[in-house]
């Protein structure tokens, strides 16, 4: 029997600007995808298997990045769907919304337990863009389901407020122990806790992505949709993916083959098919 295709909704809050490429990246990994308006009918939301809050500047980052969107009605619906186990991925500004709404790390669901503070970088301030190397710390989340712990991948970051912080004592240790730290910034070979610019924002212990305890809700600062194809990877990048990219230079493969970010979307699909639908096979 044919498995029905996985359907993902990308939520368009006012001011997001990565919805189109996020949709393309989702579709490239064999899923259907629609862009839904933040103020659209709530019932429609339930029809989808998973949700992505894409990057951008919701409400112009007023008050604090993600702070106003976190109070939108649609977040209540996403909260309920997430409680039911459906994946919700927040990318960059989407991550800020999930942190501000207490959906991540969600030790107590809905309680705000972390913040994404301004980048701390030597001799500069503001927005910073760079390709980062990431070490997979947990393969139990919906963005790393198809990867293995300690894999090293490379995905670009671009933000001004991406430093994971908390004042809850012991929380960071517990997140690591629980496998809720999904990815950390690393060296090209996975070296832990590197300095700037490998850790581009001064994030606590290099944390780049955090999930809730079930792994279905993930706040990640790097932009996998900007690494969905090999053509998007810089030729001079260090590490495995740089070598892959150079190896394919001049060939149409760069347009056809997935880049490192592709694995994030593959993970989303297999997480839904294998874990939520409880089937081992491919969709």
């Amino acid at each position: 029997m044919m498995e029905s295709r996985v359907r993902i909704a990308v939520i368009r809050f006012p001011g997001v600007n990565c919805e189109d490429e996020t949709k393309r990246a989702v579709e490239s990994q064999g899923m259907d995808c629609d862009i839904l308006m933040w103020n659209g009918p709530r019932e429609r939301l339930a029809e989808y298997d998973g949700y992505i809050l894409p990057g951008g500047f919701t409400y112009q980052d007023r008050v604090r990045a993600g702070a106003i969107a976190a109070k939108d009605r649609i977040v209540d619906c996403l909260f309920e769907e997430a409680q039911a186990g459906k994946p919700v991925i927040g990318i960059c500004n989407g991550a800020q919304i999930l942190i501000e709404s207490g959906m991540v790390p969600g030790m107590t669901p809905g309680k705000v337990e972390m913040g994404l503070a301004r980048n701390i970088m030597p001799d500069r301030d503001g927005y910073y863009t760079r390709w980062t190397h990431l070490r997979v710390e947990s393969d139990a989340s919906c963005v790393t389901w198809a990867m293995s712990s300690l894999d090293v991948t490379s995905i670009p970051t671009a933000h001004a407020e991406g430093r994971f912080v908390t004042i809850d004592e012991g929380l960071i240790d517990r997140l690591f122990e629980n496998g809720q730290v999904v990815m950390t910034y690393s060296g090209a070979k996975g070296e832990a806790e590197p300095a700037f610019p490998y850790n581009p924002n001064g994030s606590t212990r290099g944390i780049a992505a955090v999930s809730n305890s079930s792994g279905n809700v993930v706040a990640m600062m790097p932009h996998p949709e900007r690494a969905a194809w090999l053509s998007q990877v810089p030729e001079s990048l260090s590490g495995h993916w740089g070598a892959e990219r150079r190896g394919a230079a001049g060939s149409r493969r760069i347009l056809a083959e997935p880049g490192p970010g592709g694995e994030v979307f593959t993970s989303l699909r297999t997480f839904i098919v294998e874990r939520l639908r409880g089937r081992g096979g491919e969709a």
Partner: protein, 186 residues
């Protein structure tokens, strides 16, 4: 000698940030019964090495005149003072919620900007946001419900609650019109 100067900056054009925050509080967070107005100021506490309070103010006035690091005269108005309390200028039906980032990232940028234009003497600059909240009922010191209400307005503790400060990256104070200030973080 280190002199303290406080620079208060407010927008003179439409403040979309304040309008959005007010809309979020009243509509999205259901506090229309409690909150009737909102205003926003940025306060810079500036430590200046100077012979006198007057010369310290001159240093800051020069930075304001020559850079846009603190404000842009196209959009902002400002006042300079030697001290500023959170409760200064509050009406009887107002409180002020003062939010400060926990780290010094911004002050480094301001000091760097001052030295970039060759103005020496600015040693430390810390920035806080002052939200002036107009309440439906004037606050009173004896009201046991007041502080919990202000926490629900000011401190993002969970999904539906609190807007101005994320306690993990920021600290919040509340100032009352009767001349008192208290930490707002739980």
């Amino acid at each position: 000698m280190i002199e303290r100067v406080v620079l208060t900056v407010a927008l003179k054009v439409t403040d979309n940030e304040t309008l959005s925050a007010l809309e979020a509080l009243r509509t999205k967070m259901g506090m229309a019964d409690s909150i009737v107005g909102l205003a926003r100021e940025v306060q810079w506490e500036l430590d200046v090495e100077a012979d006198s309070p007057e010369s310290a103010r001159c240093v800051i006035a020069e930075i304001v005149e020559r850079t846009n690091v603190f404000l842009n005269p196209n959009k902002h108005r400002s006042t300079l003072a030697s001290t500023a309390h959170g409760y200064d200028g509050l009406d009887d039906d107002e409180v002020a919620i003062l939010v400060t980032d926990r780290d010094g990232a911004e002050s480094a940028a301001a000091v760097a900007a001052a030295s970039r234009i060759g103005v020496m003497g600015l040693r430390k600059a810390s920035r806080r946001i002052r939200w002036r909240v107009r309440l439906a009922e004037a606050p009173s010191p004896g009201d046991p419900g007041l502080l919990p209400l202000l926490r629900r307005i000011g401190v993002s503790s969970d999904r539906g609650t609190g807007l101005f400060s994320n306690p993990h990256s920021q600290t919040a104070l509340v100032a009352f019109p009767w001349g008192d200030e208290k930490p707002l973080d739980a």
